[in-house]
């Protein structure tokens, strides 16, 4: 691999990381930082979805199952078992990944694809939600609180900027990871499965193993987003952790930003949350209006910009280039 190739691959990621890292230095506004943390958090959940859905073509409608497992694991381990917050975070990522492997093993082994896979993931997320809403260990309907104790060893900080940098670091780490996947054999297998699974298998790709690795990784990333959510808001309940909203946002941001691209989920999350803030300013807090807007956006993007915003920009650029010539 030549040095210049590596620069072209990873340079943009570092540039974006540096630019985003400046945000807290430019603004002291807690509102802005809060909005940015939330946007990056959703971006992270979407990055997880993008590995399985964008590169692997397996559309999950239930990534809440992994987000929620990460969130609950981090909260319960601290609140009930007194585990250190950072250790709980790591355990939450591992448990989320495990949930992904189990669901993935059950559904991929039965050969579920397309609509069937979407359905079964949706059902698993719902089962998790019903169980979490009824069992004592999750605090049932009351949810689980993490005790407020602002110390770095507790993964709690007085300044939102620190939270922002941590979630940004996670997002950047996944950007790099995604680029690495894109450039190695595993990524090629994954794309082959997306384009034609039977052909990929005929060519000797172990499709079950590749899909399992993809869902394990995908679930781990989305679980990290869930664990960070719990740590940031210090509270989880079943409708937050396993709610439909996160399943929808996790798939929406990569689709809006650009499916199966490194920057897609990040671009989508920033665009979506920018839009949501504007709507809130214009329409006030009418319940459901932001989600209705997300739905509209989803239909419009699928209809008019199948490659997401990035594809749209590229197409516009190409159009301008043609015009100049």
């Amino acid at each position: 691999m030549s040095g210049s190739g590596r620069l072209a691959a990873y340079g943009p990621i570092l540039a974006v990381a540096a630019a985003l890292a400046m945000v807290p230095l430019l603004t002291g506004s807690n509102t802005v930082l809060n909005a940015m943390v939330t946007a990056l958090l959703i971006g992270l959940a979407g990055q997880g979805w993008n590995i399985l859905g964008g590169y692997g073509g397996q559309f999950s409608f239930g990534h809440a199952a992994f987000f929620g497992t990460g969130a609950y694991a981090t909260a319960i381990l601290q609140a009930r078992y007194g585990v250190n917050a950072w250790a709980a975070f790591a355990a939450a990522v591992a448990l989320g990944s495990l949930a992904g492997l189990v669901i993935g093993f059950l559904s991929f082994r039965s050969g579920l694809r397309g609509s069937y896979f979407a359905l079964v993931t949706l059902a698993f997320a719902e089962v998790f939600r019903i169980i979490a809403n009824a069992t004592p260990i999750t605090g049932a309907a009351a949810g689980t609180l993490i005790r407020l104790d602002v110390r770095p060893e507790n993964f709690q900080f007085a300044s939102r900027a620190v939270f922002y940098w941590i979630v940004l670091a996670l997002v950047v780490a996944v950007l790099i990871l995604t680029r690495m996947i894109e450039r190695n054999r595993f990524g090629a297998w994954l794309v082959a499965i997306r384009e034609n699974e039977d052909a990929a298998r005929a060519l000797g790709v172990d499709t079950l193993a590749v899909k399992l690795q993809a869902i394990g990784l995908s679930a781990a990333i989305t679980a990290a987003a869930g664990a960070f959510y719990a740590q940031y808001f210090l509270f989880v309940d079943s409708s937050i952790a396993y709610g439909t909203w996160i399943s929808v946002e996790a798939l929406l941001v990569p689709i809006i930003g650009g499916l199966g691209t490194v920057f897609g989920p990040l671009v989508g999350a920033l665009a979506l949350h920018g839009l949501a803030e504007v709507t809130r300013l214009v329409a006030g807090r009418i319940p459901g209006i932001d989600l209705a807007l997300y739905g509209t956006l989803l239909v419009l993007v699928v209809a008019f910009a199948p490659q997401g915003f990035q594809g749209l920009v590229r197409r516009l650029g190409a159009g301008l280039g043609m015009a100049r010539r």
């Binding site: 039965s110 979407a118 319940p287 509209t296 956006l297 239909v299 699928v302």
Partner: protein, 289 residues
């Protein structure tokens, strides 16, 4: 253990509830059988229909009388949505259809939420609490009516699918899209017709549900997950499978409510759902996935 009369009553009650499940599921499976996609906007459409029936009642029309006109309206809406939104927006790709119907469901559900908030509403009809005395068991009248109407609708659907040219065209498209197009069937039109029929079934189901049930912007979800289970159980795309599956799930829910308590009834349905998907995704009556 319970006395046989109580178990029998639970089974009959389950059959009555199951009839509405069957109707909701037939609509879902019909669309799946022809378009080969799962319509994720199914639940939201049912909710919208229930709101329509609710406001029809507010305007002084009994839901049972509103069923036929609402079915027509929803046929038109379903036809239009498939023909002018889902069809063109999805560029013929299954994945896109999934996403577009998901988007539509989010839009419908949240517009209803924005308009009517999450309040739960119900209506009062004179026969709401009437019962039918069979000698050994009392059955709630609204559910008996629902059962009877579902049977009539099922017969009508069967006649439509087997005795009319449109029905033959629908079955031809379900079997072999390309072949149907080659012999001159307008596939886009048939897609929209099927979607319209599905929406009309939902409108009727909504009118049957309302006298004994409530409506809020999320109510359809409870039914649609049951319908997914029924459709998977009966075999995706199989209309008789959906009818029998609906009745079966109604009985299972009623009996598990009797033996394990009401709150676990729903969980039982989900577990059946996941189990069937994992063990036999083609369902009891389906040919192949």
């Amino acid at each position: 253990m319970f006395a046989p009369e109580i178990v029998l009553a639970a089974v009959l009650n389950g059959l009555m509830t199951g009839a509405v499940y069957a109707l909701v599921s037939v609509a879902l499976t019909l669309v799946y059988g022809v378009l080969h996609i799962i319509n994720f906007a199914h639940g939201a459409t049912l909710t919208a229909a229930m709101f329509a029936a609710y406001f029809a009642h507010r305007a002084g029309v009994d839901p049972l009388l509103a069923a036929a006109p609402l079915a027509l309206v929803f046929y038109g809406l379903g036809y239009g949505v498939q023909r002018f939104i889902i069809g063109p927006a999805s560029h013929g790709e299954d994945r896109n259809i999934l996403l577009v119907t998901l988007g539509l469901s989010i839009i419908i559900e949240n517009l209803l939420l924005a308009a009517f908030r999450s309040d739960t509403r119900s209506i009062d009809v004179p026969y709401g609490f009437s019962t039918l005395d069979l000698g050994f068991v009392f059955l709630p009248l609204p559910r008996v009516i629902a059962f009877a109407v579902t049977c009539v609708v099922a017969l009508l659907l069967w006649a439509l699918l087997t005795r009319t040219d449109t029905g033959k065209a629908i079955r031809a498209v379900a079997r072999e899209k390309l072949g149907a197009a080659l012999v001159g069937i307008d596939v886009t039109h048939i897609y929209a017709v099927t979607f319209g029929i599905g929406a009309a079934c939902l409108a009727i189901a909504a009118c049957l549900l309302l006298p004994s049930y409530y409506v809020n912007p999320r109510v359809g979800n409870a039914y649609v997950l049951v319908a997914f289970t029924v459709v998977v159980l009966g075999g995706m795309g199989s209309v008789p499978g959906a009818m029998l599956g609906g009745l079966l799930i109604g009985v299972v829910e009623s009996l598990s409510g009797l033996y394990f308590g009401e709150s676990l009834g729903q969980l039982g349905i989900f577990l059946i759902f996941i189990l069937v998907l994992l063990v036999k995704p083609t369902g009891l009556f389906g040919a192949r996935a």
